[in-house]
């Protein structure tokens, strides 16, 4: 009990003496804030990108690509192959027949708002089943494109980052003229970075004959995918591989994971620098309080209370920095919308996303800085000889 109250008294004293060492203490707070803010910025970027792609994939949608294509852009599926796939087992049917959606994926140019330069925008060709497959699809403005016409609808994410796709606009892709008739949302996932139009119109305008690039099929349950695998295996006319749409997009979401690795490396290296700064601060603090500590020891305070007091000071400063850094990261980065080149060679619009988990990682970083920068100076504080108290003031 005595130890508790002693330690509390020293902690309060230390913290109240902080203004005396204002600049040194501020340096430590800022150093730890910068490290935490950087870590969070990078992690939020990687997390936002990953979520945008991951959330696009459904577990109960089978996704077919030609062998070794890796992405929709590179794949081809012939019309007769699509017809074969329609007969695969385990596919759900609705009033329009089996829920199978053959799709086309071509790239057109858009103008990036931030740089006014051209960027690759995906133009997806699909039919009614394709739209119905995507359960979180909602039309925000305007209307659906009419099949057989040069009409398209634009994803909400695209609208925010690129110029020229506003509702009612006429777009020229080469000699083809398109009219934007609607704006859609798919709850923030990667489909919102796309333009959608009727697959058959794209087939004729882009000389694709009757071929498509990828096929999606709604399954009665995720387990049905095994049956489909066997079905493809047994038919030599099919050169497709099947996986769940979820696993395809999970793989695509990893293409920015190097950002998270880079962020962790940079912030760890920077944390070492911040640590050195923080150690400087804490050693200065102990030197500054030497007489004080010795005096307390002389009137009966224990070694441990001096140790705890210094430790607490270090933790308070670093945690303060951590909070400041998290706040800065939250204010500047959370919800920040941007776009980059994704795995399909097209622009993916995504927003930075800070989650509780990421904040925990930031807090952990701050605590580590606080602990390491506290423990050595605290050890020195605990060993201040009592005699110092009786020496003349330096």
């Amino acid at each position: 009990m005595a130890l508790m109250s002693q330690s509390m008294a020293v902690i309060v004293m230390n913290i109240r003496s902080l203004p005396r060492r204002f600049w040194m203490s501020a340096a430590m707070v800022i150093a730890s804030a910068v490290v935490v803010a950087i870590l969070l910025a990078f992690l939020a970027m990687a997390k936002g990108f990953e979520t945008t792609l991951k959330s696009a994939g459904a577990e109960d949608v089978a996704f077919f690509l030609r062998v070794s294509s890796a992405a929709e852009l590179n794949s081809t599926v012939m019309n007769d192959q699509v017809n074969l796939l329609r007969n695969a087992p385990g596919i759900v049917a609705n009033d329009k027949g089996p829920m199978v959606s053959p799709e086309l994926y071509v790239i057109v140019d858009g103008i990036k708002k931030t740089s006014q330069t051209k960027a690759n925008i995906p133009l997806r060709g699909l039919g009614e089943q394709g739209v119905r497959l995507r359960e979180n699809f909602t039309l925000l403005k305007g209307r659906m494109f009419t099949p057989g016409t040069n009409e398209l609808i634009v994803g909400q994410g695209l609208l925010g980052q690129f110029d020229g796709f506003e509702l009612g606009n006429t777009l020229n892709f080469g000699k083809n003229r398109w009219t934007v008739v609607g704006v859609f949302s798919t709850a923030g996932n990667v489909f919102e970075s796309e333009l959608w139009a009727d697959a058959r119109v794209i087939q004729s305008l882009y000389n694709r004959g009757s071929s498509y690039q990828s096929v999606r099929a709604k399954l009665s349950s995720p387990q049905q995918i095994e049956g489909i695998k066997a079905y493809i295996e047994n038919d030599p006319r099919l050169n497709q591989v099947v996986q769940s749409e979820a696993s395809y997009f999970a793989e695509q979401g990893k293409s920015l994971s190097y950002i998270a690795i880079f962020g962790r490396v940079i912030s760890t290296v920077m944390a070492l620098g911040a640590l050195a700064g923080a150690l400087n601060t804490m050693f200065t603090s102990v030197a500054d309080r030497t007489t004080e500590i010795a005096t307390l020891r002389a009137i009966g305070f224990s070694h441990l209370s001096a140790f705890v007091g210094t430790m607490a000071e270090a933790l308070v400063l670093s945690v303060l920095g951590g909070l400041l850094g998290s706040l800065a990261a939250y204010l500047f980065f959370d919800g920040l919308s941007t776009s980059t080149l994704g795995g399909s060679f097209t622009q993916v619009v995504f927003t930075f996303q800070l989650s509780g988990n990421l904040f925990m990682q930031g807090a952990l970083m701050a605590l580590i800085i606080g602990f390491v920068s506290g423990v050595f100076p605290a050890w020195r504080a605990a060993r201040v000889p009592v005699a110092v108290a009786f020496q003349a003031r330096r």
Partner: protein, 385 residues
């Protein structure tokens, strides 16, 4: 001499603090050097492009093809020196994850449009005669340990071979290098004609055209003439200088690059502010001693100079170590990640920039206490002692 000894004694009076301060500066410049080199590597495509080289692509997007007939039409436009063309192959070696930049090109004109590439004449003529031949850049050849005479199976993630596979057996006839070591040589070239005849879709499309102009001043005029001559056709074109084309491509990665580098540089400067603060306080502690020095007859200017030299020494000591560390890190990274980042180098520009920041750090952190020392009244200075 005596001054230097005093400066040395002042610097080393608290060894731990000296170490910690140096270490922080070390880290700051390590990050600065490494990240600036990284930024340079990402932008190197723009810097390494020839002034008189233009790229013509389909106006819809550069992934859309152009008719083969455009090659001759462009050749006849005034101001065009030489035209070549290429098709993207979407190549990979053995497994889809091992992507290899592979292009089907015209073996006669390619190397005259890309003059900075060096391929021995003997190898070049052998390649031109062998339909199934390919030439490989030195960096790529090193990656997979390929040698002249090897036959390598190259697969495509886009095209299918008429033999029912997606693989083409190519014979390496030559290995090309570049005049400038920063020019990327991590790719492979093979015959356009052979590619077109063996892939199932056939057709007579090219992916894009690259051409040189007779004079850099004609670039704009030539680009406009090309685009005008194909206006209102089924495949309209967009011609730009190679530098502009590469820059636009880098812009596709977008402002996440800007955000990353912005954040890192902000951190670099914050660390400098933090460490500068420590350095200022370290000298401020010595107000009494400075008054003693002045009492002993050291002139104000001499003390002023000593303090400035001390802070600059500290900044350069930590900073140069950091730059050295960055150099090693870059050296390691460029060897380990040659496939992704071909042009990672810590060049002269970065070193000069870093030296500038070190000087700035030394001067700014030194000037405040040095000025105080210059103006210090001996009597009030000694009062604290």
């Amino acid at each position: 001499m005596k001054d230097l000894y005093l400066i040395y004694k002042n610097l080393t009076r608290k060894k731990l603090r000296l170490f910690l301060t140096c270490f922080t500066i070390f880290i700051a410049f390590l990050i600065f050097g490494a990240v600036t080199a990284l930024q340079g590597a990402l932008n190197s495509g723009v810097e390494m492009s020839a002034d008189n080289r233009l790229i013509t692509v389909n106006k819809i997007n550069f992934t859309q093809p152009l008719p083969f007939a455009y090659v001759n039409k462009v050749q006849n436009i005034a101001g065009v020196k030489e035209v070549s063309y290429a098709n993207w192959f979407g190549g990979f070696y053995q497994e889809p994850a091992k992507q290899v930049v592979t292009m089907a090109v015209d073996p006669i004109t390619y190397f005259s449009v890309y003059e900075e590439l060096v391929l021995p004449d003997e190898q070049k003529s052998k390649w031109q005669k062998n339909r199934r031949g390919a030439v490989v850049g030195q960096r790529l050849a090193k990656t997979y340990n390929w040698k002249v005479g090897d036959t390598v199976p190259m697969s495509s993630n886009i095209f299918s071979n008429k033999d029912g596979t997606q693989t083409w057996e190519l014979q390496i006839e030559g290995i090309f290098t570049a005049k400038d070591p920063q020019t990327d040589t991590g790719y492979m070239l093979f015959h356009y004609k052979y590619f077109m005849e063996t892939q199932i879709w056939g057709g007579d499309n090219v992916g894009w055209l690259m051409l040189t102009t007779t004079d850099t001043n004609l670039n704009e005029q030539v680009a406009k003439a090309i685009d005008d001559s194909f206006a209102n056709s089924a495949a309209e074109t967009q011609t730009s200088t190679e530098a502009a084309f590469n820059k636009a491509f880098i812009e596709q990665i977008g402002n996440i690059g800007l955000i990353i580098f912005g954040v890192v540089f902000m951190a670099f400067f914050t660390i400098l502010v933090v460490v500068g603060n420590t350095m200022v306080l370290a000298i401020r502690e010595r107000t009494g001693e400075i008054a003693v020095l002045k009492t002993l007859g050291f002139s104000s200017m001499r003390v002023f100079r000593m303090i400035l030299i001390e802070s600059c020494l500290l900044a350069f000591f930590g900073g140069l170590l950091g730059l050295g560390g960055a150099y090693l890190a870059v050296l390691w990274a460029s060897a380990a990640m040659a496939r992704f980042l071909p042009n990672l180098v810590l060049d002269q520009g970065i070193v000069l920039q870093a030296l500038g920041y070190m000087l700035l750090l030394g001067l700014i952190t030194g000037i405040v206490p040095a000025l105080r020392a210059l103006k210090l009244n001996i009597v009030s200075g000694l009062q604290g002692v």
